[in-house]
Amino acid sequence: MLTFLLRRLAVAILVAMTVLTLSFMLTRLSGDLAISIAGPNATQEDVALIRAAYGLDRPLVVQYLDWVGRAAVGDFGTSYFFRERVADLIAQRMPITLTLGLVGLGIALLVSIPLGILAAVREGSWVDRGVMLVALVGQAMPSFWLGLLLMILLGLQLGWLPISGTGSWEHYVMPGIVLAFSAIPALMRLTRSGMIEALSSDYIRTARAKGLSRLSILGKHALRNAAIPVVSIAAVQLGFMLGGSIVIETVFALHGVGYLAWESISKNDFPVVQAVVLVLALIYIGLTLLADLLNAALDPRLRAS
């Protein structure tokens, strides 16, 4: 178990290093950053000034090592646009994005797990078909469009919720619903197929042969095994949802990390962009690690080895 953990950790660190490098390379893709930063009306001197100010005149390797060295201690430099330390910016915005992600995941789990179980228990019935249709609809729904529709319906016509902005808990409801929609199909399908697999397994037949009650068969024997992959995928989905929050935060003008990233991209504020990419990737890596741990904790076969 310990060696498994260490091995997983080593891989995670390697992945993090690779992403670090990639996020550095990403911002150098466009060629001369100084020109991008300076904007179209800048003079030659302006560009040179910017180049010197941000250390862009140094060799790439030096810039890279400098960035790695600073990033390792949480120093991502200073934003060009906000004139603030990038780390502070992200720290201010992160709670909003995390709240949104958790609200979204919560809604997604509350919807997908009961529906997935219901579909599995009534496999092949109209209930099952209906649930699968919901999954298909969820998969096909463009999140930004759904966001706009909800704004029109819940915000404008019914007036239940604020249309956009950051502040009270009410501001998280619509974005949370939209974000949940992106995770519901996957979680629902997984719950359903996991339950179907469990229900057709030999050990469920054994449980029936033992004369156990239906509740015990479903709730104790089938669900426990079906839940194992769902729990770990839920952690991974949270990672995807945080990554996908950029669209939703922009639609709802929710000032989280995603919105920050979008602003920075529009303003060519590359220190912020590369830092956000890195931080989201690190969170994802952490979540997959967590998923593996949850898996090991839930599955006695993994726990032992």
Partner: protein, 333 residues
């Protein structure tokens, strides 16, 4: 008589990696196996799951490289031949007729595959040989046009046999060829294999867990336990007077369809063999009902047994005090 196939000191160690920092564990699946099979005869290899008999088959077929040892066909080392030359000498028939045929190809294309792989057989010639082979294994031309999913288990195994024989190899390695089949179909396939061996002068290596089947088809039998051949002898001699306690236990547990005999007590304990943890001394001693002081301490030599074979057991050592093999036999009876 020259051996059609000879195996010398074959050994295969698997490294099971458990973690990045933990030292990999060694699993010795096949441990110093040697034998020679005369042309036209059948060597049966028997043993329980995990004894290394399937690994042995894969080593001989070149599907796995051996850690040590050599396989020779007609005195030539297989390791020094290219795969196409090897294919012309030795071919497999596998256990599961559902997994051994490519579901996306027609039967005639499956049977033709070895000819195509040779790269030198003209298409018309290949088609002729495929048709001939299909007929030989009892399949119609019409069945040659079908896909494997449209055939029964027995018919599929006939296809697998046709594919193995289309290159006219000298040796066929049959790895549990009838274990997935019903008894009535098993008999058909066993009869077919016997007929083909006689007609084509084939040599078989017949691997099975079913002793009754091995007794029926093999001229010589090797009993494997935890990677080693613990007893080898002429079929008749081995089944009449098994020398190794493990062989005796195996034979005792064969339930022949003879009513009234009840279920025998095989006298083996609950400890099951673990290839990752091979006991010191005689590897069978933890389960052996006749183990004595020497068994955990010292690996037994291969002592000659009646009938020209051998068994690796201290009880057969003429110098062993108070452990005559006769006594063991009486206890069994």
């Amino acid at each position: 008589m020259t051996a059609a196939i000879e195996v010398r000191g074959l050994r295969r160690v698997f490294r099971v990696r458990q973690g990045l920092f933990a030292p990999p564990r060694q699993v010795v699946a096949v441990d110093g196996v040697s034998f020679a099979v005369p042309a036209g005869s059948v060597l049966g290899v028997v043993g329980e799951s995990g004894c290394g008999k399937s690994t042995l088959a894969r080593l001989i077929l070149g599907l796995l490289p051996p850690t040590e040892g050599e396989v020779l066909v007609d005195g030539r080392r297989l390791s020094e031949m290219d795969r196409r030359a090897r294919a012309r000498l030795i071919q497999p028939v596998f256990q599961d007729p559902f997994a051994s045929l490519n579901p996306r190809r027609r039967v005639k294309d499956i049977v033709a595959m070895p000819l195509v792989a040779q790269g030198s057989v003209p298409a018309a010639e290949a088609a002729r040989r495929v048709a001939e082979m299909l007929e030989r294994v009892g399949l119609s031309q019409e069945q040659g046009e079908r896909f494997p999913a449209q055939l029964s288990g027995g018919q599929r195994q006939r296809v697998a046999i046709a594919r193995a024989l289309v290159l006219r190899p000298r040796i066929v390695v049959c790895d549990e060829p009838t274990s997935a089949l019903d008894v009535s179909v098993q008999a058909q396939i066993l009869n077919l294999l016997a007929e083909l061996r006689r007609d084509l002068g084939l040599t078989y290596l017949f691997i099975s867990h079913n002793l009754a089947v091995v007794e029926h088809v093999a001229s010589e039998v090797a009993v494997m336990y935890l990677g080693r051949i613990v007893e080898r002898n002429e079929s008749e001699a081995l089944f009449r007077a098994p020398a190794h306690p493990y062989t005796r236990a195996l034979l005792a547990s064969v339930l022949t369809p003879e009513p009234g005999l009840g279920v025998p007590d095989v006298g083996l304990g609950d400890t099951l063999p673990d290839p990752a943890n091979i006991p010191p001394g005689c590897r069978f001693h933890p389960r052996c009902p006749q183990a004595f002081g020497r068994c955990p301490a010292e690996a037994p030599a291969a002592w000659p047994a009646a009938g020209g074979g051998f068994a690796e057991c201290h009880l057969l050592d003429p110098a062993a005090p108070g452990a005559a093999p006769r006594e063991a036999l009486r206890q069994e009876a």
